[in-house]
Symmetry: C2
Amino acid sequence: MSKQTTVPEPLEATERPTILDVAAACGVSPATVSNVLANKPYVKEQTRLLVQQKVAELGYRVSRAAQSLRTGRSGSVGLIIGDISNPYVAEIVRGVEEVLWAKRNNLILCNTEFYADRKMAYAGSLLDQHVEGLILVSQTFSEDEARLLGLADVPVVTVNRPCEVLRADQVGVDGAGGIRAAVQYLAQLGHQRIAFVKGAASSPSANDRYAAYRKAVRAHGLVSDAALVVQGDYTMESGSIAARELWTREAAPTAIVAANDLMAIGALGALKEMSIDVPRDVSVIGFDDIFLSNHPLVRLTTVHYSKRDIGLNAARLLMRRIEGERSDGPRTVTLDTSLIVRGTTAPPHALKGVKPLRALKVQKTHDADASAKTQAQSTRAASIARSSRRTSQS
Amino acid sequence: MSKQTTVPEPLEATERPTILDVAAACGVSPATVSNVLANKPYVKEQTRLLVQQKVAELGYRVSRAAQSLRTGRSGSVGLIIGDISNPYVAEIVRGVEEVLWAKRNNLILCNTEFYADRKMAYAGSLLDQHVEGLILVSQTFSEDEARLLGLADVPVVTVNRPCEVLRADQVGVDGAGGIRAAVQYLAQLGHQRIAFVKGAASSPSANDRYAAYRKAVRAHGLVSDAALVVQGDYTMESGSIAARELWTREAAPTAIVAANDLMAIGALGALKEMSIDVPRDVSVIGFDDIFLSNHPLVRLTTVHYSKRDIGLNAARLLMRRIEGERSDGPRTVTLDTSLIVRGTTAPPHALKGVKPLRALKVQKTHDADASAKTQAQSTRAASIARSSRRTSQS
DNA sequence: TTGTAAGCGTTATCAT
DNA sequence: ATGATAACGCTTACAA
């Protein structure tokens, strides 16, 4: 607990040496220094050593600006996202960062708050910087936007949303499959009245999931009733409102499927406040398996997939394009999902006797197929990932 | 649901025009184009218009690399963090991004996973890029590291951790005050045996908070017992283990203060699994007020402060340095905390009759003092923030 | 108000 | 195996 009393001397701020300074110090040409730095094989060992020593001695650092200007490559990738503080997104960012780091590329983070003008401004700035590629999370470019930016020659990968204009590669999650599994599981438990809380109206993924719900309800011969469907917007708040709304209507559901965990958890909160017991009175299933859902206090049954893998795949797809891969069309990676059964699901009240089927895993995870494996480039990141996915090519 | 059948034409990929192309197209010199782009006041209106039109027409974009090389300024800031997927950190990042966006600076995100070598590699790369400044979250540079990098002339701001070597500005939260308030509140409720779950051993903030706990226990004449203290590491898991550990010991506590919410919530989970009722059998208080803590299923009493404000302040401090502000010493911004009483605290079992004091807010938020207000630069960001803080100057 | 020209620090080409 | 030189695209004195 003793306090440091001597103020440490601030480090000296000195002029930054250039490659010419290093060359001069070594008595060689700048080209040679450059060759050493670039690990060119034909440099004499002795020269290499000398240069390396002087580099360290002088504290020389390349100027990326000059390097970039000369080579036309920036070594940076832009990541445009709507809301970085969404924990779901943070995981994706982490995955992206992981593979960029492996390739020593920089990640320029652009948080748009979902404003189109901010998205455009950022995209423009990224283009100014000659970013090697762009990853868009839950966002796209319209044709006009793409034209305005003139971003025809920069590879783009989108997450959770297509971008036909740019023929961008795309990674997403099999939302329909996940919802299907959720409904199927509830049907097997004996539920007939299964409600659905829709995601944000503007989101394609929300539509996919809703369509899958409808289809599954029909397939299993369950109650199909407009009063069982309520519009949410992917926020916890909206899930809470949705649950209250449902108990306002004629006949309450015996189960709720929400288009994401946040809404499911919001619903859980509202149900608790209404003293409706989960899973005794009603079962709840979410989608995403966010961190929170696994907590002992929550234990939400949900559709799981790896957020990190989404980031990993998006970045890998992008790196492949950056590294010059050509293909006839955009690639699409769709991550599989699996249903994780936790504590918020049980047979409906009336059927108390039926056994709960706890062990069931509807859509099981399987390994990447051979083609995906062959195509994967980033070995470091690949060895860390345990991504399960299907790769298709249009 | 009809599928789009016509594949849209991919946009044409064209050579990127330079400022010379624009100049030629306009019949003016490149200098003039540059002047227009830089909004120099003395350009003839007609010329300005012409140039702007041609710029749009050709889809010209400046080359940041060239610009950077020429001016020596990159317009980017590096953010070095340990774990982006930590929701607590994501909020900070959002705050930082907010003010950088306002100043049209880029944010280069570096996720170190808390590896020193990764931190160093990233810092080096950032320096290569001539970043205008660095923000370190929960990390520092040792003297050796700073020397090795030669980062004497780049402004650095640290979050949650000092960096004496570089005389870096610093922003943090008043951990001691928060813990003091928590213990005081519990004492007022009548608790005598208050346990403490420590944060990561290597973290200075963990030490601060523990010291504050000890001091407060003494000040209020509460039970001071080594058996009431258990080491955690800021993870939820460790909080869960800590709770179990506590109920392994001779006499259980009637309250637990954890050095962060994650551990408090982990403890909540373990307590639930042990069928120990909160707050009837034991009260729990956390620190951070993360998103999760406010959920109806959790309702954790906790020490609150604005994560976003931390980011906002860090970025503002940095921008001030970048804009050339000199001062005798490093600045420190310490955010105040407030105790948020929710559902996990109550008088100890024995004292059931005592009224719960729900309304008490121990450390109330007060407005920024005059000096802080005057010093604040970023008006846009400032208007958004409702940060309460103290600014000191050493 | 506009044009000329130098130079920022690299790397790539071509000689040697 | 190394060196000389040009060029990358821009900004900024300074000249006109």
